[in-house]
Amino acid sequence: MADARTRILVHAALVTVGVLAAAFSLLEVTGTVRLLTTLLAAALLPGAAVLSRLPALDLAAWAGLAVAISVAIETVLSLVLVWTRLWHPSALAALLGAASVALLVLDIRDQRRRPAPAPAGTAE
């Protein structure tokens, strides 16, 4: 995602999804809305946060790797909970979500601070 504007929009959307998922969990909302929000957050948030620290990728690679990396992170972390018998999935999800949101917010800030692109016609 090299286009700063698109990047900001996507990351802001993901941050929103993450916040909503957390809110639904805290408020113990039930139903499809919470399920979908949590799925979106789980499927994209951690991976997008990791990718936000790395050079840009094309759309398909970004989306695919965001999902794969998210699934990988969550699989490994949940395994840690299971194998250590410290089964606190909500706490882990909250920590992971917060860290992911923080990284995305940082990226949004960085993108907004980037200098505006050069006007047309500027010699190279």
Binding site: M1, L39, L57, G64, V76
Partner: protein, 770 residues
């Protein structure tokens, strides 16, 4: 986030006209110029015309350009949605769901497919449009059953619900229970998700697994195809093939689904971040083979992409090497000040053009400078892989040769795109691989074999990456080796022909015609993809595209496990599953026109019939077992009651296999496995005799004092379809058992009944008998 994002900022300085066919166009984000400008400038090397106004007319430009694909997609999705109200599951037959689907369903899917194909074939395809239409197709094909059936399909997925709920209940695993507790990655993940999402029973969302995993897999196939074929358009076409060929049915709520998704992610990371070809002698020998047919020498290009063009920054100096002007496309370039590098082609392996030996960091690659004021051209054959290694990828194409999809890929941005820190790339590869290793028994070996093949060919470096992945894989197996050897065997035999024998329909007694039909269609679909793959290889090699050996290598790797494992009779299906994504990439190559000018709406006249044929084979392959795969709510309710209220330790019998058993979190309290009357050889087309009943009760009594027997109309359907039994065959046995007094009705829900079977009752009756 698309490669064309920088265009939206209005920058002209760093704007690079896109090749008409080598890349997808901009996203639907508003842009200053029409896409046709980019195509023209790509062809001529001239700067694009000044953009049109930034009003709504300009913003709607991309929508207008894609009105036909979008219209087809919207119309198709609407038709599909409306058709769902007319789906009547009662009309399912041995031909599966197909007779139950109304004509509007087929028309809707056809329109979506046509829209997607048209979107891909346009001269300037829009990435977002293609992605949306593919998403609609995924929803139509894989979202139909979740929307019309009450419960998730596939009986064997229900035991996965049980393992997930076990972890939710206990917060841990018990390796003594079954193999799932030894490879618990997927279940730990779903247990966490279920808890956080407020849906403790995965039955609430598992039906949508196929939509999720197919969509995720399609994205990764698109990215992989983009890199292998040097064309984002062909990458998306490969993704389209992936969506319409995923018939094996392994994307459901299961460890295999997540393992395959992670494997595709791992492949992408390995190819993108470690794909720096330096052909070894096996690859050189392979690449020389086409020359015997007087085809051009094949070249293997690096597999990473520079990433999308970053937004130009005012005053930022250009740090990337300038690119050669279009008048010298594919010109050989040499690394300057490399010290140890060599001139391309000199002393390098045929087809590599990659300097041997390490190249010092921060090496500046000098190429032909373009005159001041001349815009960045479209044609180029090089791109820096990373500034630290500075490995230069050089392509010397034969005269008139073009990579797949037409014109050469656009060069990297003037600012260049730094590579990922190597440690990060390695960490991500290991992370995804460990998640695979801890989730599935077979997939990690397929991944390792694939990477090994790539290392042997010299496509992926360094060699120790394969060793590392193998070490993780084997290291995880070692503590469980004894368990696996005792219960399953690490190797089941070394006859690959024996290992690919399936335990499917052909193994059934007397399957009905519909069962035979769907099996044949699956075989035909696989054969079609193999043929398309072969065509893709031939067409690629004829154009000197050595990258086609990469998917060939992965297809070979996918078949290697059957040299020693039948995987419970599913060996052949797993080969199809793991080879599928690579065949999709080759199939996309097969359908690419000879030159860039060939991509137009008219190209859809070639692509659509082929994909239409594939879909026609896919539908019976995927939906042909639906009458058995779609679960009976009454039977599931009966089983849920049994696990909730039954006496722990009591065996459960059923009439036929493929019962959705072990679906509760306390499934470990009951004996594993469900013995069936079919397996006992007791169910047949004949009426049960008293001797049959006596034998049956003795067989059941051998399992313990008490047992539960489950009968249902769904089981009768299985008998009818797979054994061609008469419609009341199972009921006849149930009634005979009831009349004998051996059973007591314990639970009844709709069409499902659970009986309590007591061995002592048998003895009492035997004592009372004359």
């Amino acid at each position: 986030m698309s490669p064309g994002g920088a265009h939206a900022t209005g920058s002209r300085r760093h704007r690079q006209p896109r090749a008409a066919s080598g890349t997808l166009g901009r996203s639907l984000a508003p842009g200053p110029a029409d896409s046709a400008d980019s195509a023209d400038s790509a062809a001529t090397g001239q700067p694009p015309r000044p953009g049109s106004s930034r009003g709504w007319a300009a913003r709607l430009g991309p929508v207008r350009e894609n009105r036909w694909p979008l219209l087809l997609g919207v119309a198709g999705t609407g038709l599909w949605g409306l058709s769902l109200r007319s789906v009547d599951l009662a009309r399912m037959t041995d031909y599966g769901l197909l007779p139950a689907l109304p004509p509007t369903w087929y028309l809707g899917v056809g329109l979506i497919l046509a829209g997607a194909v048209l979107a891909v074939c346009r001269r300037e395809p829009r990435e977002l449009v293609v992605a949306l239409l593919l998403a609609a197709l995924v929803m139509a094909l894989y979202g139909t059953i979740p929307l019309v059936a009450e419960l998730p399909q596939y009986a064997w997925s229900y035991k996965h619900f049980g393992v997930t709920q076990y972890i939710e209940l206990h917060g841990s695993v018990d390796p003594s229970i079954d193999i799932y507790h030894r490879w618990p990655g997927f279940f730990a993940l779903t247990a966490m998700f279920s808890t956080v999402a407020g849906a403790p029973d995965p039955i609430a969302y598992a039906a949508w697994s196929e939509v999720f995993f197919t969509a995720g897999g399609a994205l990764l196939v698109a990215a992989i195809g983009h890199r292998l074929l040097r064309s984002a358009r062909l990458g998306w076409l490969a993704a389209l093939f992936y969506v319409i060929t995923n018939w094996v049915g392994q994307s459901y709520f299961a460890p295999q689904a997540v393992a395959l998704l992670l494997a595709l992610g791992g492949y992408l990371l390995v190819l993108d971040r470690f794909g720096r070809p330096r052909p070894t002698w096996p690859l050189r020998a392979l690449l020389r083979l086409p020359q015997r047919l007087r085809w051009p020498a094949a070249r293997v290009e690096a597999l990473c992409l520079p990433g999308p063009e970053p937004a130009a920054e005012a005053g930022a100096p250009s740090t990337a090497p300038p690119t050669p002007p279009p008048s010298t496309p594919g010109a050989a370039v040499a690394p300057a000040a490399a010290g140890t590098g060599t001139a391309p082609g000199a002393g390098t392996a045929a087809g590599a053009g990659v300097p041997r030996g390490p190249v010092p960091a921060a090496t500046t690659m000098v190429i032909a400078r373009r005159p001041a004021g001349q815009p960045a051209p479209a044609a180029a054959g090089m791109q820096p892989v990373s500034p630290d290694t500075a490995t230069l990828l050089i392509t010397r194409r034969p005269a008139g040769g073009q990579p797949a999809g037409g014109a050469p890929q656009a060069p990297p941005a003037a600012g260049g795109t730094p590579a990922w820190p190597r440690g990060v790339a390695l960490a991500l590869v290991l992370l995804t691989h460990f998640a695979i290793v801890a989730s599935h028994q077979l997939t990690p070996y397929v991944v390792v074999l694939g990477v090994v093949v790539m290392v042997v060919l010299g496509v992926v470096r360094p060699w120790w990456l394969a060793a590392l992945l193998a070490a993780v894989t084997v290291g995880y197996l070692l503590p469980h080796l004894g368990y696996v050897e005792d219960r399953f065997g690490v190797f089941t035999g070394f006859d690959p022909l024996d290992n690919v024998q399936t335990s499917g329909v052909e193994a059934a007694g007397s399957p009905m015609p519909g069962k035979v039909f769907f099996t044949r269609m699956g075989t035909l679909l696989t054969a079609t993809m193999l043929l398309l793959g072969l065509i893709g290889v031939v067409r690629g090699l004829r154009r000197g595209e050595g990258n086609v050996v990469v998917p060939i290598g992965f297809v070979v790797a996918a078949g290697l496990p059957v040299l020693g494992q039948s995987y419970g009779g599913e060996g052949a299906l797993r080969v199809v599953l793991f080879a599928g994504p690579w065949l999709c990439v080759l199939a996309a190559r097969a359908l690419a026109p000879v030159s860039a000018a060939g991509w137009s709406a008219r190209r859809a006249a070639v692509v659509l019939p082929v994909t239409g044929l594939v879909v026609a084979l896919f539908l019976p392959s995927f939906f042909g077992q639906s009458e058995l795969n779609i679960q009976d709510p009454d039977q599931v309710a009966a089983l849920e009651y049994t696990y909730a209220h039954g006496e722990p330790g009591t065996p459960l019998f059923a009439g036929v296999p493929h019962i959705p058993a072990s679906l509760a979190g306390n499934y470990d309290e009951f004996p594993g496995g469900v013995p069936t009357l079919v397996a006992l050889g007791l169910l047949s087309g004949k009426e049960p005799t008293p001797a049959d009943i006596t034998r049956l009760t003795q067989e059941i009594g051998a399992y313990g004092e008490h047992s539960y027997l489950l009968f249902s109309d769904a089981q009768q359907a299985y008998l009818t379809i797979n054994e061609s039994a008469r419609p009341d065959a199972l009921r006849a046995w149930e009634d005979a058992l009831l009349k004998s007094g051996h059973l007591t009705l314990w639970y009844e829900h709709g069409s499902a009944r659970v009986y309590d079977f007591s061995r002592s009752r048998i003895q009492d009756l035997a004592e009372q008998a004359p």
